[in-house]
Subunit: 164 residues, 2 copies
Amino acid sequence: MVVNAYIIDAVRTMVLMRMSFEERLGSHLKRVEQELQAAKSAAVKPAGLTVPQYAALFVLDEQPGISAAELARRCLVTPQTMTTILRNLESAGLIERTPHPLHKHVIETRPTAAGRKALDQADKRAAAVERRLAAAFSEEEADTLRALLARVSESLTTDPILKS
Amino acid sequence: MVVNAYIIDAVRTMVLMRMSFEERLGSHLKRVEQELQAAKSAAVKPAGLTVPQYAALFVLDEQPGISAAELARRCLVTPQTMTTILRNLESAGLIERTPHPLHKHVIETRPTAAGRKALDQADKRAAAVERRLAAAFSEEEADTLRALLARVSESLTTDPILKS
DNA sequence: TGACGACCATCAGAACTCTGATTAGTCTCT
DNA sequence: AGAGACTAATCAGAGTTCTGATGGTCGTCA
């Protein structure tokens, strides 16, 4: 019945034009990213942070006084999203925002002492997750994974469907 | 000054315990997943669907009458999230929900004619994105990528930090 | 100088996503 | 039959994320 199975599959593909979820690369990517998100979330939660809040604090600690727009670019989110994240961080007393002395329209953001403390606490556990991840691969394997992901990225960002 | 660079890096690592964002595998995964999400979103948008709505309709079309809880498992979201998605789909007239004849507590969900039409329209473009993705890799490369992602997954789900 | 474009910040609205909690039906085992 | 476990559905609340729109500021270039 191998032939029948083949025919059925071919007909299904041609008629319905459907690919099952499991055979799609995107499903694998989504699941893994979701698990990573869950692991990081559990890691930073004891510090009272969410993952995006942790990311924002992380960048702020390296570059205090950065603008919200620049922060958004570093954290791979839109400025609107960053506004929301900063609002929550500020009301928790983890950051403070002051107008830029020269550019009046720019607001400088920097972590408070409490913010740095929360970041330290969160980073210990978050970095442990990343280290564990890194330890699961040889240098060569990690490079291969990065290269393949870059290929995915390139394939997606040059996709003509986005322009139609 | 190679030695100096090495020392500086080592000190930074030991004192701050920080890994920069760019060297983290998680960043690559997040960015790629985000791009994939954006591509799919653009693909299904002309049909008036969001990506989660498309995923739900897709599974519903294959298995009409499935319960919301089962649907949530297939789509990799929580039942609460699926409730939200189904509420939006129902108010758009793309699905209909009727009580199960035997199990009174279960509600059967199935796509309407309009739902199937939207799915067809969305799937043409969404499948094109996946096909383009698949075409960017040889069979062997795709297998390698899947295998490496599975290793990431395994590393994450067995992480002891989640139990502490 | 004045117009235009680029950029910053933010509001508004919508969707998705989670955790936590509640309510209720089904099943199993005693 | 009844207790306990499991599952289904959903509400409540919070956070993140997007698109779209608004208003203000800065710099450049005619």
